[in-house]
Every structure is written in C-alpha cells, then in structure tokens.
C-alpha cells in the first residue's frame, strides 16, 4: 500500500447532494435529443443499442428457458436494458461491477459469455464466470449486501494507488436494507471511488415503491451521507450512460462516491415463479410498454441516420444467433462432479470434509481424490 492522499476535486456542496427536480433526460419520448451538450460519440450510441438488442434477446431466451424449467429461476431484465447496459458501458475494463440476480443483461453487455452468466440460474454452480477476469462479482442475492463489497474493493484499490472505480447495482427495495445504509456511509466518509446505481423499477417483488419509501426520491438519500446525488430517466440509455460516466470519472479523479437513482420499470414478473397480476394492473404495465428503452434509442439513431434497416437486421440476426447458441448449449446436460463440492470450502479440505468426500465417493461407487 502506497497511498498518499491525492488532491482531488472538492467535496460536494449541499446542492450537489440533492437530485434535480426532474430526472436527467437526454432523449425525449420520441427519441429526440433534448440534452444541453452534444450527444455521446455516434459509434458508442450505436454500440449501446447493439448491446441492448443482444441483451433483450438474451433476456427473452432466458425467460423462455425459465418457463421450460431449464433454469431454476430467471429474474428478467426486460425494460431495464437502458439502466443495465448504459451503466455497464460507462465502466472501463479495469473497473469492477457488483451486480444482483437481476442484472444478467449487464453481465452480457460486460462481455461475459451468456452461457456462463446463466450458471447460477441454471443451478449447476453459484457463479459461472471468472470474477477476476471480468472484474465482475458474482451476482448477489442477499439484498444490498453487494454494496459494502463494492465499497471495500474500491477503497482497497485506492489504497493500492490503482485508479479504478466500482459500481454496485441495487434495486429500489434493496435501499431499505441496513447494508445499503452502511455501505453508503462508509463510502462517503472515506470518499471511496464507487457509484451506487439504484434501478428503481417500482417494485420489490410485489411491493410498490410507496410501501418502500416516503422520500421525495431515492436519490434524496445521498445528502444523508454527504454524497453526490443524481436522478435519471432509466429508460433513456444516453441519460444513464452519461450520468454514470460522469459519476465514475469523478470518482476516479478522487471526487468521491455518487448515488444515482434510475427510474425504470420491471416489465416482466419478478422471476419465472411470480404472478404479477396479484399486485399490479395491466394498465400500468401498458403505460410503461410505451416507454420502451430500445424503441427510444432506435428512434433516436434512425432520426440521426445512425441506424438503417440493414444494421438493425444485422443486430437482430446477431441476437438470434446468440439466443440460439445459448439454447443449444443449455440442451447439453451439465457436466458436474459431486465430489467437487468438497474442493472449495477451504483452501484445503478439513479432515472431516475428507471423510465426507470419501463416503460420498463410496456411495457413488468411486474413489475420493
């Protein structure tokens, strides 16, 4: 550890710790640019869209696999592609991502093999990709517990003098957990280079936002930690990308953490096991259908001449190929060795685990390793 306290940007002023009155929106409902500056680079906008198309198709395929019982469960990202992909693309390869069970599409956008992404949901292991190679933590199920991990990692990196940033995804429901509070507070006190992105998809399983908070917005929690706040239209990929990029780069420069709330909607059931008709209306879902993040970005790109039918068709074809490949690979039964269970409890199995492994091996008619 060779850290010296680097002179960084000044701590935020009180007004920066409160979100704006309206969410940041750079594309209007029809996809027209309504931002003040210039839009992000054209190639990037197209790439964002391409990954959203891939993500959407991946999600559709995974949802189908969930329904068919090929996955133990699948929590869909449908409707949240702008949040997940916009945020992920704001990260450098060296930055770290801390996703939840909800964020499979972010992982695909991060470049992780979709088949590996689904390992957890398939049930063959708890995490299927290399955490180190992708600098992406395992998808986290216990709500909000990933937040302190992201904070600790970024703090350690800063102590090491490495200029990386961590980003944790969290849901609207997850913000009610104590771990969220403790992570935000640690991050703000130690000015940790980290970003909290709340995907406010309006529900925690069946529980609507109004039963989760009485705050004006979730972004209003930032000032209670002394952290910068931002509120963003979560179905506007450019707004998410731009806002997260700003926060990430400020964190990298030593400006401390930011809490971003992205307003979006979970179009599908909570998971393949859920029945949303019990707690929300078709009308509400219909309203949000009209705000589709892919449609919005597509309209923008077409109007700007950045997307033509041929490119769109190519994206669709690529997405279909991805889905088909995934489907095929899912058909192969997983090659699992029950004896591997004993290999990863400790660096070396305890004598007790060796005994248990031998017993299992015997039951399986095999010799323990």
């Amino acid at each position: 550890m060779s850290v010296t306290s680097r002179p960084g940007p000044a701590p935020p002023g009180t007004h920066e710790m409160l979100p704006g009155a309206e969410p940041v929106r750079l594309l209007d409902a029809a996809g027209r640019w309504v931002g003040t500056g210039t839009p992000p680079d054209a190639g990037l906008r197209r790439e964002l869209y391409r990954r959203m198309v891939l993500g959407r198709q991946f999600d559709r395929q995974a949802t189908a696999l969930g329904k068919q019982g090929a996955l133990a469960v699948y929590p869909s990202s449908y409707g949240q592609e702008a949040c997940q992909i916009g945020a992920t693309m704001a990260l450098r390869e060296t930055d770290w991502l801390f996703p939840t069970y909800r964020d499979s599409v972010a992982l695909v956008a991060r470049g992780i093999d979709p088949f590996e992404v689904l390992t957890l949901m398939r049930g063959s292991w708890h995490c299927g990709y290399s955490v180190r190679r992708h600098r992406t933590a395992p998808q986290c199920t216990p709500l909000a517990t990933q937040c302190p991990h992201a904070v600790g990692l970024a703090h350690a990196a800063r102590l090491a003098g490495d200029d990386l940033v961590s980003l944790s995804f969290i849901g609207d429901g997850g913000t009610s957990e104590g771990d969220f509070h403790e992570a935000c507070n640690f991050a703000a006190v130690h000015r940790v280079p980290t970003v909290f992105l709340v995907q406010n998809n309006q529900y925690a399983i069946s529980v609507p936002l109004a039963a989760q908070t009485a705050a004006p917005t979730l972004a209003h929690k930032a000032i209670g930690y002394g952290m910068r706040a931002a509120l963003v239209d979560g179905n506007d990929a450019l707004a998410v990308y731009t806002t997260v990029t700003e926060a990430v780069e400020r964190a990298r420069a030593g400006g401390g953490p930011t809490l971003i709330e992205a307003l979006t909607y979970r179009m599908n059931p909570h998971t393949s096991a859920d029945d949303p008709t019990r707690y929300r209306s078709a009308e509400e879902v219909a309203v949000w259908s009209g705000r589709d993040p892919l449609d919005r970005l597509a309209a923008h790109l077409r109007a700007e001449g950045l997307l033509d039918d041929a490119t769109a068709a190519a994206y669709t074809a690529e997405a279909e190929a991805l889905a088909a490949g995934l489907r095929d690979r899912m058909r192969q039964p997983p090659a699992l060795d029950p004896l591997e269970l004993f290999d990863h409890v400790y660096a070396a199995p305890t004598p007790q685990l060796r005994e248990q492994a031998a017993e299992l091996a015997a039951r399986l008619g095999r010799h323990a390793s």
Binding site: P142, G178, Q352
Partner: protein, 332 residues
C-alpha cells in the same frame, strides 16, 4: 370428514383462525400482503383482515424483527415472515440480543408473544441462499422456542400453539413439504409446545428427525421393514426447543440404537445436541454409537447437486446398517 390440506394451506388456516379469534394477532413481512407470500402462506389475509392486520413492511429484516419487538411490547402478537432462512440473518442481532432476551431482561415483566415464520431448508431446486437450514443458530439461543412441523396437522396445530405462546417462537416451515397434503382438524385445541411424537413405533432402532427429515426417516423405516427386516421407530421431534427428552430417551432405551437425521450441516448442527444427550442419557442401553445422517459440512450446494447433500433413504439405511448389529442379523 377431516379435510385434506396442503401444509401451506394448513399454515394459512392457522393464521386466519388465529387472526379471527384474537385481534391482537397481526401478520407482516415481505410480500405477505397482496401477493400472499412467495409460498402463498398468507394468501387472502390482507383481503380478509385489512391492510392493518396483514401488510408489507419496507424490505428490511432487522427492521421487521425490531418493530415486532415494539409491537409485542404494546400487547400485540405479531407473526412476522422472513422470506427464506438466509434472509433472516440480517435480523440476527434483533433475534439474539432482544427477542430472546427481553423477558429475561425485565425479570418477566415484558413477555414477547412473537412468531418468526421462516420457510426452511432445501430440496426445492432453488438457487443459492434459498435452501439454508438455520435451526442450529436458534436452538442455541436461550429464550427462543424453536418449532419444525413435519405434517399438515402439526403445521396447523403447532402454529396455533406458537401464536398462543407468550414466548418468542422461531417457526421453521419445511419448504419442500408446503405442497404435501394431510388431514387437518382445525377444531383441535392447540397443544403445548415441547412434545415429540412417535410417528412409527418400532423395536430395532430409533430414527430421530424433525421437519423435512421426517418423511425421509419414515420412508427409510418402510424400506428397512420391507427389505432388511428391521423394525425402526421414528420419532418426530416437532419442537426442538423445548426438547422432549422423555420421549426420545424412552424410545432409545427401548431400542438400544439411534440415528439422528437432519438436513442442516452435521458439524455442530442440532443433531450433535441430540446425539450427545442420547449418548449420555441412554449410555448403558446403547448397543452402538448414535449416528447422524445430515447435510454435508458445506455451503449449500447448487441445486443440481443438492441431492448429494440432503439425507435420503439410502444414507439413512446405511447408517442403520452400521449400528453394530449382532452377527446373526447382519445379513438378510
């Protein structure tokens, strides 16, 4: 005729009957309101009793457990749900440092009639964190009662008893039995907690189990009777705390052999207590060491491997076979 109910329905009936009979009973947690709980155990309660008696709290288990303490202090009888074993851990401090201790702290002035319902254990093919078996943490915490039903009738009766208790009860509901049906008599008076049941009388050896391990033990006993000629007694503990030493000890003294079966990891699991007590109390009656058939000492495996972790009939029979039978009976 006594109706057949799935265990989840029996639990629902218990909640609904308790709420009807006593307006101090209220139910809250995560998704227990309009959704009726992820396992539908609270189905219809919000509609029937209104949003004050059955509601969704903000998503925060320590907050849920902690507010329940305050409600119980004021005379309500809260029944709170933790969505899965692993999601009760955030409430651990409230459970251990307050719920278990408030009566003691106040020399009995404050009672704490509070039930913590936890969908318990694995075997349902669920991803990580949805299959933990956490009873060892609670049974070691003085001040808590711990209950684990294995039948629909017990689910009903023991939940009624738990709600009627003036002490806090951790109520472990075996997830994989939620859809198992059985006769449920709702008019039966609530029994006191703390009585084990002999589910199958037998003479050769005693299988001691609770919750989801009971059907496994019963199936093993049937299989043993069919194929090995062993007549196994099956004791269903029903209540882990208070522990029914009398029933357990009497059985093992009679049979002289015992196997404990549970789903949680074996090391320092509740089976250790059972084995230790039985070994001590039945010392001169034991023909063989008390054996344990339990989950492996691992973090709960991914669902596609869980069958290797969970006790099953062959493993129980293997343990029974290892109970040092006299030569004559060793082959069949």
């Amino acid at each position: 005729m006594t109706p057949q109910l799935a265990m989840a329905q029996a639990l629902n009936a218990a909640l609904s009957d308790a709420m009807r009979e006593d307006d101090r009973v209220l139910v809250y947690g995560e998704d227990v309101g309009p959704l009726g709980g992820v396992f539908r155990v609270t189905d219809g309660l919000a509609a029937a009793f209104g949003p004050q008696r059955c509601f969704d709290a903000p998503l925060a288990e320590a907050g849920i457990a902690g507010t329940a303490v305050g409600m119980a202090m004021y005379g309500l009888r809260p029944v709170i749900e933790m969505q899965f074993d692993a999601f009760a851990y955030p409430a651990f401090e409230q459970v251990v440092s307050h719920i278990a201790k408030l009566r003691n702290r106040t020399r009995g002035e404050l009672t704490l009639p509070l039930v913590i319902r936890i969908p318990y254990g694995g075997g349902i093919g669920a991803v990580e964190h949805h299959s933990d078996a956490s009873e060892a943490y609670y049974v070691h915490t003085p001040g808590l009662h711990v209950v684990a039903p294995a039948t629909a009738q017990d689910a009903y009766s023991l939940l009624r008893a738990a709600i009627a208790s003036d002490d806090p009860v951790v109520f472990l509901e075996p997830k994989r039995l939620y859809r198992h049906k059985g006769e449920v008599a709702r008019e039966r008076p609530a029994e006191p907690l703390g009585r084990a049941a002999v589910r199958r009388p037998g003479t050769s050896a005693t299988l001691i189990a609770y919750g989801p391990a009971v059907p496994v033990a019963l199936a093993a006993a049937e299989a043993a009777a069919d194929t090995e000629g062993w007549d196994l007694e099956v004791v269903d503990l029903r209540t882990l705390v208070p522990f029914d030493d009398e029933t357990v000890t009497a059985s093992v003294r009679r049979t002289g052999r015992a196997v404990v079966v549970h789903e949680a990891a074996g090391f320092a699991g509740f089976g250790a207590e059972i084995a230790a007590r039985v070994s001590q109390r039945c010392f001169h009656h034991l023909e063989a060491p008390v054996l344990r058939v339990t989950g492996l000492d691992l973090p709960y495996p991914p669902p596609l491997l869980e069958q290797h972790h969970l006790p099953d009939v062959p493993r129980v029979l293997e343990a029974v076979a290892a109970l040092q039978w006299p030569e004559t009976g060793s082959t069949s």
